[in-house]
């Protein structure tokens, strides 16, 4: 063992190569190659008889959703609306919880809370979505309880039901970075702020909020991008009555045998996320990475 470490000590470059080769091969070989081939395919044309596209280079797929059919603009805007609502709701839900878990709760309580937050991630997405259906469907737990109170609401296969489901399934991805961000706020800064006479609300706005902002933005990147690409929630909870980017891509890949168009349309969420990350960078979200 000592001889092995001595061997590597003398050959730093070898150690580095061995260390980085697997993730690099993964990143370039699997991740970038698949993205690249997706992009290349978006300039081809589907063959109605075969799953293999015809390689005649053209921009028709892009024209289809950029200029020809306005329905795709509606789909993109609807998806953006869902992603924004999900993110805002999740911030609103996660903020007090993360604050409580890190600043108020006992260490024991804190651990319990974090375990409870992560438990849903251990079950399959499908199971979680169908359990949401049990609550949100017409005649489900929620509508049934509201009906007992004399409120008649129908949520089954509706957009509010989808928004609730999105907010529920992606919530842990907001809570965890927020908890990490709150943890990093030094208690001494808050004490200093109080010592200097700042009230609770002022301390919150000028000390805590700026310091946890990177965590909020990191969480929002998760909730926003996960909603942007989801095609299962809109199918199970929404009954596929409200098309999102994910479901349109899915139906072109799986049903229409039109992989080139699906590939072209899949560049839209990529572009949106690129813009989102640029804005996040401007806001300084990556400075503390």
């Amino acid at each position: 063992m000592t001889r092995l470490s001595a061997f590597f000590f003398r050959r730093r470059w070898l150690k580095l190569t061995l260390l980085l080769a697997p993730p690099l091969i993964w990143l370039v070989g699997i991740y970038l190659t698949s993205l690249g081939s997706l992009f290349v395919q978006s300039f081809w044309r589907a063959d109605e008889l075969s799953p293999n596209p015809i390689h005649d280079w053209n921009l028709d797929n892009y024209r289809q959703f950029l200029s020809i059919d306005p329905v795709y603009r509606t789909v993109v805007l609807r998806t953006l609306a869902f992603a924004s609502i999900t993110t805002i709701v999740d911030i609103a839900l996660a903020f007090p919880l993360a604050y409580y878990a890190t600043r108020v709760a006992s260490p024991r309580m804190r651990r319990t809370l974090l375990v409870l937050v992560t438990i849903p991630l251990f079950s399959s997405l499908i199971v979680r979505l169908y359990s949401m259906r049990l609550i949100l469907d017409d005649g489900g737990l929620l509508t049934w309880s509201l009906a007992k109170l004399g409120i008649d609401v129908r949520l089954g296969f509706s957009q509010p039901a989808m928004a609730i489901a999105f907010a529920y399934i992606w919530l842990p991805f907001m809570i965890l970075p927020l908890v990490a961000a709150f943890e990093r706020v030094p208690g001494s800064l808050i004490e200093a702020s109080r010592d200097l006479g700042a009230k609770g609300s002022l301390t919150f706005r000028t000390v805590i909020l700026p310091l946890v902002m990177p965590g909020v933005i990191a969480g929002s990147i998760f909730t926003f991008s996960l909603t942007l690409g989801d095609f299962i929630t809109p199918q199970i909870v929404g009954g596929d009555n409200f098309q999102l980017i994910g479901t349109v891509v899915y139906s072109n890949f799986g049903i229409a045998n039109n992989a080139p168009f699906a590939a072209a349309f899949a560049t839209v969420p990529l572009a949106i996320m690129a813009v989102y990350l640029l804005i996040a960078k401007r806001l300084g979200a990556f400075e503390h990475l």
Partner: protein, 370 residues
């Protein structure tokens, strides 16, 4: 290295021997070996596969496909599958790509008792040759709640009538465009729609326009039959297009529903077993094709899935009430009103090539749903 070569040689020899044995046996009735099939879930259950395995000596190895495209891809990859239970939105592509071969009906014992409309179905009867053994089918019927809906029940016009706003549910499937086209072929003869699956630009546009007008009337589209049941039970829908499966489930749940085949006719699906172009185990494949044509087998499958069997003799095994409910009695007038699913291709099949292929149907469907 030498050892490895020896092993490979041995294995090749064994494989060769096995092939020789298999081909020598292919003439015999008891075939033996493994039969690899691509099937829909629910088509290769133990209840009817085990008796087949005992009788033929063939071990059935089924691969379930999630979609017609997956079925097509599995056959295309030439992964050694012998048979595929293809639906109309894959069968014509399989034929056109030469991935399946025509069958000899004389080797299939139950052939003469299979529903003639399915035997001559355009989903597999191409160029005067039969490419499939009809297996299970189902009509797309008009379904309504007898207590809550009192309007028209003998015409699809009910689904396009603004008076029924917020009461309607229809399948979330691009093939619904054919339902609209079928309705237009009767109500607007000037469009010249002969076949609801062969639509040129003008005809497709008319069907799409009709469905876009229908969009605001829709309570909810349904993707899974269980969702449709839900929408009918508690979701406020009282009228819609449905499969007999949903009708049976709703009746079982105590919802007062009735079904009809409207005067304009209806669309329907038909699944057939197709034989790969170069099957690995042709003897076993032939044995399965023969077995699958049996009325008793088809009735079992139909009962299990609430589909309709293709064999006209299956009513004995189904019982009168289920037979009537599933329309398995081979009523000619009923069957002649059904246009069975087939893949829309740009080659219309009547010498013209200006038809709109399926991928554009899907794009149109996206556009309709908005």
């Amino acid at each position: 290295m030498r050892k490895l070569i020896a092993v490979i040689t041995l294995m090749t020899a064994a494989a060769l021997a096995a092939t020789t044995v298999a081909s020598a046996r292919s003439t015999a009735r008891a075939a033996g070996g493994t039969l690899k099939v691509v099937a829909w879930e629910g088509y290769t259950e133990k209840a009817w596969v085990t008796p087949f395995e005992k009788q033929s000596g063939c071990k059935v190895q089924a691969k379930y496909a999630g979609s017609s495209d997956e079925m097509y891809n599995l056959m295309k990859k030439n992964a050694g599958y012998d048979l595929v239970s293809a639906s109309g939105d894959a069968s014509n592509r399989l034929i056109a790509s030469g991935l399946v071969q025509p069958l000899d009906p004389s080797t299939i014992p139950g052939w003469s008792r299979l529903t003639p409309q399915l035997v001559k179905g355009p989903n597999h009867y191409v160029g005067g040759k039969y490419y499939g053994v009809p297996w299970q089918w189902g009509p797309n019927v008009l379904l309504w709640n007898t207590q809550k809906y009192k309007g028209t029940t003998d015409s699809w016009s009910a689904l396009y009538d603004p008076a029924n706003k917020g009461k309607i549910t229809i399948p979330n499937n691009p093939i619904q465009i054919a339902d609209a086209a079928l309705y237009l072929s009767k109500t607007q003869p000037s469009l010249g729609i002969k076949d609801p699956y062969e639509l040129n630009k003008k005809q497709l546009d008319a069907a799409v326009a009709l469905l876009k007008k229908q969009r605001p009337l829709i309570k909810a589209y349904w993707g899974f039959a269980t969702d449709e049941v839900k929408i009918f039970q508690t979701g406020g829908a009282t009228l819609g297009a449905a499969w007999p499966l949903a009708v049976a489930q709703l009746k079982a749940a105590g919802v007062p529903v009735s079904q009809s085949l409207p005067k304009e006719g209806a669309t329907g699906w038909s699944d057939v077993w197709m034989l790969a172009k170069s099957p690995k185990n042709e003897a076993c494949a032939q044995a399965w094709l023969a077995y699958s044509s049996k009325a008793s087998v088809q009735a079992q499958v139909a009962k299990y899935n609430t589909y309709t069997p293709a064999s006209l003799d299956s009513c004995k095994a189904l019982g009168t009430s289920l037979c009537t409910q599933l329309h398995a009695n081979g009523n000619v007038a009923y069957l002649n009103k059904i246009s069975f699913w087939k893949t829309p291709l740009s080659n219309c099949g009547n010498g013209k090539t200006d038809c709109i292929p399926y991928s554009q149907w899907v794009a149109a469907w996206t556009s309709i749903k908005g």
